[in-house]
Amino acid sequence: MAVKRDDDFFWEGIDQGKLLVQCCSGCGKLRHPPRPMCPHCQSLSSESVEMSGRGTVYSWLISKHPTQPDVEPRTVVLLDTEEGTRLVGNMLAGETVKVGDRVQFAVGEFRGMRLPMFTTKGA
């Protein structure tokens, strides 16, 4: 049996256009990044829960390759979901933010990879 990575469900969700976060089946607490055990009740069982997609920017930066100036810059955000977890994502191409901005989940692609992306439009 192939070993499943702890964050496989997260990427399967992204591929289906959903923002999924791990939720402990024992105590109901959300946790991210995904881990095999709940650090609060030590339960090994968990499920994934779909987030509303609404969040607030907690930190951000412009990622620009230091030695390949031809690569388009992208905005990396650290954000708090309204359900109370924190995660890293990107803004949709060309969007900039400041701390405290409200954002909405939107799947986008970067170099052919589907990634969790966010937008300030309609948030």
């Binding site: 964050d7 997260f10 990427w11 992204i14 991210h32 990044p33 650090p39 907690y58 930190s59 951000w60 930066l61 412009i62 990622s63 620009k64 390759h65 230091p66 030695t67 992208r74 990396v76 650290l78 924190r86 995660l87 890293v88 994502g89 990107n90 701390v99 970067f110 170099r111 052919g112 990879m113 589907r114 990634l115 969790p116």
Partner: protein
């Protein structure tokens, strides 16, 4: 841990710090090591323990066979990158205090500019496997740490220009330290502000530590033995590590307030407790700065200034040689060179011996920090 000053750093050695050493990492390690052994007044046959970073490419036995070390009784490595610089001394001191070893060689050497550069992202060969950080663009230390620094800067209202005051100070020290890469090359705040963005809006080029080729080594032994050796006694008064729940050495984003740097607060708390000293007793500070914002965060987390006051403390010149807390007197990792924090530890020893290029007058204590590990050195 409480070392009661019963262990000491008896020898220090280093190579030149360059951008292209032209020789193997093993040779750099051997050159720095023999310099430290001889500085202590020892020979390789006196060394019975080795300690380095998990990441060091120099195999202990290769180095021992190169140097002529005859009999290793204790060998270990510490995990955690530059943050464990002081942990390597703590572990060596623990071995010496327990009697597991008597004279431990602590070394770090690399060609970090002409070889594998820490500042470069992993080579983009084929599609990147998606993960929670690297795939999002967090592929260099500058970016990885900036997401953390930005929180601190946001909370206390620091701008990139505020960081520049530290960089100017570090480069002042480097300018009068012949061992520094930036010897005789001071900068102005305008130079800092004109340097290009590495990670907008947090770090400019001059906020980043160097990438350097070189090596450093230190010899840890008992206080009793060190007293009879070649150099003035530099006892280790205390050394501490801290790793707290839900923290991360690189992607430290998921705790309530990452910008507070609780591990740095914890190592300081441990050290004040075991040494009986307080921040006002410290004469010199050596703070591991891979990037300039961390100096501000450490000054506050360690308790040298209240939260939010590092900006004004730095701006008003308190880190200068005539300030309240002369800091990174060799020019630090930005100004002197980046030997993964080890060159800040050798400078701390020089300050205690009274022989630093930028010597702090009558210095009797030095607080050395690599964030998640730290130590206080004194004078015999």
């Amino acid at each position: 841990m409480n070392l009661n000053g019963n262990t000491a750093i008896a020898g220090i050695g280093q190579t030149e710090f360059s951008k292209e050493s032209g020789r193997s990492e093993l040779q750099l390690a051997a050159e720095a090591s023999i310099a430290a052994i001889r500085d202590a007044g020892l020979t390789p046959a006196d060394i019975d323990g080795t300690m380095t970073f998990f990441e060091d490419t120099n195999d202990e036995l290769q180095l021992a066979n190169t140097l002529g070390i005859q009999n290793i009784r204790w060998m270990a490595r510490s995990k955690g990158g530059g943050g464990s610089a002081c942990a390597t001394i703590q572990l060596a001191a623990s071995a010496v205090a327990s009697g597991a070893a008597n004279a431990v060689l602590v070394y770090r050497a690399f060609n970090e500019r002409s070889g594998r550069r820490f500042g470069q992202p992993p080579a983009a060969s084929g599609p990147v496997q998606r993960d929670l950080h690297l795939a999002m663009g967090l592929d260099t230390p500058a970016k990885i740490y900036s997401l953390w620094y930005k929180r601190y800067m946001e909370t206390y209202g620091l701008t990139n220009e505020d960081l520049g005051h530290y960089v100017v100070t570090a480069r002042e020290y480097a300018a009068t330290n012949p061992a520094a890469w930036y010897y005789e090359k001071p900068i102005t705040l305008a130079d800092h502000q004109e340097s290009r963005w590495i990670c907008e809006p947090i770090l400019r080029r001059l906020d980043c530590c160097q990438e350097s080729d070189g090596g450093c080594a230190l010899i840890v032994t008992t206080r009793e033995r060190a007293r009879d050796l070649a150099q003035p006694l530099v006892p280790i008064l205390g050394a501490a590590q801290s790793q707290l729940w839900n923290g991360d050495i690189m992607f430290d984003y998921y705790r309530d307030d990452p910008g507070e740097f609780p591990e740095a607060a914890d190592v300081a708390r441990q050290l004040w407790q075991v040494t009986g000293l307080s921040p006002s007793d410290i004469d010199v500070a050596m703070l591991y700065e891979n990037f300039s914002p961390i100096v501000f965060m450490m000054l506050e987390a360690h308790g040298f200034v209240p939260r939010g006051e590092a900006r004004d403390f730095v701006k008003s010149g308190q880190l200068r040689i005539d300030g309240q807390l002369p800091t990174n007197t060799n020019g630090g990792l930005l100004g002197e060179g980046y030997i993964h924090g080890y060159n800040n530890m050798t400078e701390a020893v020089r300050q205690m011996r009274g022989m630093a290029a930028n010597q702090v007058k009558d210095a009797e204590t030095v607080f050395v920090s690599s964030g998640r590990s730290a130590m206080i050195l004194g004078r015999g």
